[in-house]
């Protein structure tokens, strides 16, 4: 079972979903906080779901307030960077570049990809944490 957990984790790194910052989270997990990594991940997904919702609503309104969108994405990128969510972070960076360029179509396209990467990471981490508990 430990081997399966290790393989799941390795594939997350190999496929580029996570970077070395995730290992920093694991360094912080100890007997006092044995579920620290999962707790941080849970907080990340809760907070990022809120940001996704805010951005979705802002985009649906049709009027692109690029400053506001950039501000939301700054938050999103910050959190993603802190937990090592590499692919999500990359999409955040691209979205911010499109905001600075005032490129609405680019923002929409990138945001769609970002949501996809975010959902995939969430599912894979849930599998990883469930496997870790067995």
């Amino acid at each position: 079972m430990q081997r399966q957990v290790a393989l799941i984790k390795q594939s997350l790194f190999d496929q580029g979903y996570l970077d070395e910052q995730f290992m920093e989270l694991e360094e912080l997990q100890d007997d006092a906080n044995p579920n620290f990594v999962e707790e941080v991940a849970t907080l990340y997904f809760k907070d990022s779901a809120r940001l996704i919702n805010n951005i979705d609503q802002a985009l649906e309104r049709g009027s692109f307030d690029f400053n506001r969108l950039d501000s939301y994405m700054h938050q999103f990128k910050g959190s993603s960077t802190s937990i090592g969510a590499s692919k999500v972070k990359t999409e955040c960076t691209m979205f911010r570049e499109y905001c600075r360029a005032g490129n609405a179509e680019g923002c929409l396209r990138t945001f769609k990809q970002l949501k996809k990467e975010h959902a995939t990471l969430r599912k894979k981490l849930e599998q990883y944490f469930q496997a870790s508990k067995r």
Binding site: E24, L28, F36, G78, S82
Partner: protein, 134 residues
């Protein structure tokens, strides 16, 4: 991080985390905990100022730059105007030279780029003479 994680509990250092991002708050709080540094967390520069106005004092302040209500540059300036001599380390993802310079000139003692790690925090503590690396 190569090598042991230092335990500074005996030094009875205290710190204040100033960051509006929930994931970063959790990470930085745990990073400091792990090094044996008791710490509080506030959400923006105004709360950091209010904490000091209420009589609280800290050896170290980890100050994010971009925050609502009062950002890190404004808060650092305000704290220095108040005569607060705590060591303040700027911690931010915004690392363009101009922005870094402006943040440093506000009254920082040190600066680190996010994401914060154990190594980076130890480096801050070393730079600010709280810890001698062997």
């Amino acid at each position: 991080m190569a090598g042991e994680i230092p335990n500074l509990a005996e030094s009875k250092l205290t710190a204040l985390v100033v960051d509006d991002n929930l994931v970063n708050q959790m990470m930085h709080h745990k990073l400091l905990d792990r090094l044996g540094i008791r710490n509080d967390v506030v959400c923006n520069g105004q709360e950091a100022v209010d904490a000091h106005c209420s009589g609280r004092n800290y050896d170290l302040i980890l100050m994010d730059m971009e925050m609502p209500i009062m950002n890190g540059i404004q808060a650092t300036k305000r704290l220095r105007e108040m005569g607060i001599e705590s060591k303040i380390a700027g911690v931010t993802t915004r690392a363009e030279e101009e922005e870094r310079k402006e943040f440093m000139e506000a009254g920082l003692n040190d600066f680190q780029e996010k994401p914060l790690t154990i190594s980076k925090l130890v480096s801050i503590l070393h730079n600010l003479d709280f810890y001698v690396q062997t």
